[in-house]
């Protein structure tokens, strides 16, 4: 048989791209407890990361990650809702201590254990409210294999630059389905740089720089004292009840994320001249939305597409784009339109429509039906 090598077309899955991207961007430890449908991420993490530790549960996972981050590592884990729920208090701790890490959250059908092998998109509002006080944690959502690659690297970068946990939101179908994929489309990824405090003045663990982010020093060095604290604390890291300095520090946690995430605004806008309708979808449903928009355009309809990728903190840009359209269809694998609630609260304007459902992928036809109705 006459043959030549197809330059880079392979059969692969999103999990492989996520872990390789995280490793190349500087993540050096994978800590985890196995859970479906994050098991491929766990497998690849164990194979690829310099350090892999099998934790006995998800609380321990986050605690070990935080300890590793305190020594200068950039740890990663992957889980699904049941594991993520156990992690919540410890994510708050890492957020308060301002230690970087990436948590890949693979959504599956709930509530509770639900169905481990069935995809869903029902964790968005949990992410919005996951920090006591409502402070936002950066959340990026993948909507393609290319996103698995580029957004994973951005997640590492945000975690280090902002000194914060970052959630990479995905779902079962995105990380377990195999697809033909051209590797040459992948951008080069370099490790995120990690500047350390290098002054002679006494180090204050939570004295912020101009961007609201404190310089980092690991507890493994012996030049300056490091104080890390998950309770309300002053700039030095000393526990305080509610002094102005300590409350100012807590306010800074929110401000630094909101301000700095303006540099990490990722979305896909495929606008069509003269279109009055906009389809809005993220994650796995973005694939159906792209298909639906293509089908409608082939039938002569004018319609635009918005795929948000930076989900939290919510970029104002999305509302500005949505404001240009008289009909907006949000498509999502839930029965309650979490993306809509995130954007508009509990009373959505009448022109915001919803194509949703439980226990199955939303199909292009369901989206088209809602746009055309």
């Amino acid at each position: 048989m006459q043959e030549k090598t197809l330059q880079d077309l392979v059969l692969t899955d999103g999990s492989r791209l996520i872990i390789e991207s995280l490793a190349r961007s500087g993540a050096d430890a994978f800590i985890g407890y196995p859970i479906t449908p994050a098991n491929l991420l766990y497998l690849y993490g164990s194979q690829r990361m310099e350090l892999m530790l099998a934790a006995p549960d998800e609380i321990t996972t986050l605690q070990w990650m935080t300890g590793l981050a305190a020594t200068g590592k950039l740890p990663v884990t992957a889980t699904s809702f049941p594991g993520f729920a156990l992690m919540l208090e410890s994510i708050n701790m890492a957020y308060m201590m301002e230690l970087p890490m990436v948590i890949v959250l693979v959504q599956r059908l709930g509530p509770a254990t639900g169905t481990a092998t069935c995809g869903a998109q029902g964790d968005l509002l949990l992410l919005r409210g996951m920090i006591s006080g409502g402070h936002p944690v950066p959340v990026l959502a993948t909507s393609s294999f290319n996103d698995c690659w580029t957004l994973s690297a951005r997640a590492s970068e945000i975690a280090v630059r902002l000194r914060t946990p970052v959630v990479l939101l995905t779902s079962k179908e995105e990380v377990m389905t195999q697809k033909s994929f051209g590797l040459s489309s992948l951008e080069e990824i370099k490790p995120v740089s990690r500047p350390l405090y290098d002054k002679d003045d006494p180090y204050q663990s939570y004295k912020a720089g101009p961007k609201g982010v404190p310089d980092f020093l690991p507890v493994s060095q012996n030049v300056h004292q490091v104080r890390l604290n998950a309770s309300t604390h002053d700039q030095q890291g000393n526990l305080q009840h509610s002094s102005e300095e300590a409350l100012s520090n807590t306010r800074r946690l929110e401000h630094k994320v909101v301000q700095q995430m303006k540099d990490y605004l990722f979305y896909e806008l495929d606008s069509q001249d003269g279109a009055n309708s906009l389809v809005l979808a993220c994650g796995i449903t973005a694939a159906a939305a792209r298909e639906a928009v293509g089908m409608m355009r082939r039938d002569g309809h004018r319609v635009s597409l918005l795929v948000p990728k930076t989900l939290l903190p919510v970029p104002q840009t999305y509302l500005e784009i949505i404001g240009l359209y008289s009909r907006v269809v949000i498509a999502e694998e839930t029965m309650n339109n979490q993306l809509g609630e995130l954007l508009f609260g509990s009373s959505r304007p009448a022109h915001i429509r919803f194509a949703g459902g439980l226990g199955k992928m939303i199909s292009p036809r369901e989206i088209i039906r809602e746009v055309m109705s």
Binding site: L6, A23, Q47, G67, A70, S90, T177, V219
Partner: protein, 422 residues
Amino acid sequence: MTRPMLKTMPLPYCKGCGHDLIAKHSAAALEKLGFYPLDVILVTDIGCHGIIDKCMNTHTVHGLHGRSGALGAGISFGLQAPGKKVVVFIGDGGATIGLQHIMEAARLNLDMSVVVHNNMLYGMTGGQTSGLTPQGFRTTTSFEGNPYAGYDICKMSHTAGATYVARVLGIGDISGDLAKVFGQKGFSLIEVMEICPSYGVKLNPGRKLAEVVKSAGRETGVWTGSREDFSHRQGKKSGDLLSEVSGIAKGSEHRLKNPLSIVISGSAGEGVQLAATLLAKASISSGLQVTQKGSYPVTVGVGFSTAELNLSPGPIHFHGIDTPDLAIITSEDGLNHNRKRIMAMQQGSLLIDSGLAVPETSARVIRRDFRSVGARNAAICAVLYFARQFGVLTEEILLHIMEQEGKAAKLPIEKIRQVIES
């Protein structure tokens, strides 16, 4: 002069509290062992003992209730430099909620030392009974005395694999006991017995510490283990996950004009997913875009096994399949899992083992004796039939992929030929 571990300020404890003794003698013990303050990472829990941080010149890490054992373990995992010391301060309440964290660190024999401040109740929240409260000891939630025995954290840690475990009374000079604990390589734990002056002393008038400890069966002493201390033992690592998925050689061009959705379904262990992967790779080799999704029950070794494939000459965005263009069914399990889909098919083809009852469907039905080549080969036989008879891609290219993947040698090719030519 070397900076001391402790600052000179008064410690923030109630009069008579054993925590004061532990803090001072821990500092003395560390200094006695020659540690400098910034060699020490003190990890504190939630509880009265945890407010010691501000008095220390060491690194301090103040975490959540009960989790300091795991947080300290994380730091220990990450420390590469010799001469560092992770010390975890935790109370009896923290040791109760975080018991597994302590056991895990002991099991791994991680290089860290845990000091359990057992003052026999939750002091910070009002004197409630903890999991380490001795039987018979009175607390604000057990006025007649704790009716249940407490955990023996020393015995548990020893059994789990710790190098060195000790229990002492928090009276007099305990710096020597603490120095022995801090001087170990591997996991060490010391349980310092105290009575909380604010609740314990008042609720248990006249009782002496030694008597309470003895009557609870908690003898003081030392227990040593011989387990090798933790070292990172990582398996073989991949330097590049992408290099492990090789590009697929291009073969003869496909003859597909429109997207084709295929469901292949049979029983677990009968090669359904393998057949789907071989077909997917052969399709890529033929120049097609492909998606492949597997479905099976959580008990992966029993019941149905279904693979969904989309083949397309152009890009594939949405990979879900409602009603397929082609259903390949090789067993009863596969038929039952896809019966509704097959019945919903208004067109397309159903390729089904001839031993199975065909459901009512508008699809074109093709029955062949796929299982006659052996149950494990039935799905591969069916995809070879598809290649031979449907004209989407060549049988040759599929066989080539099978050879490349090392799957061809064990196949009963002659028997398969008889089926696909029939």
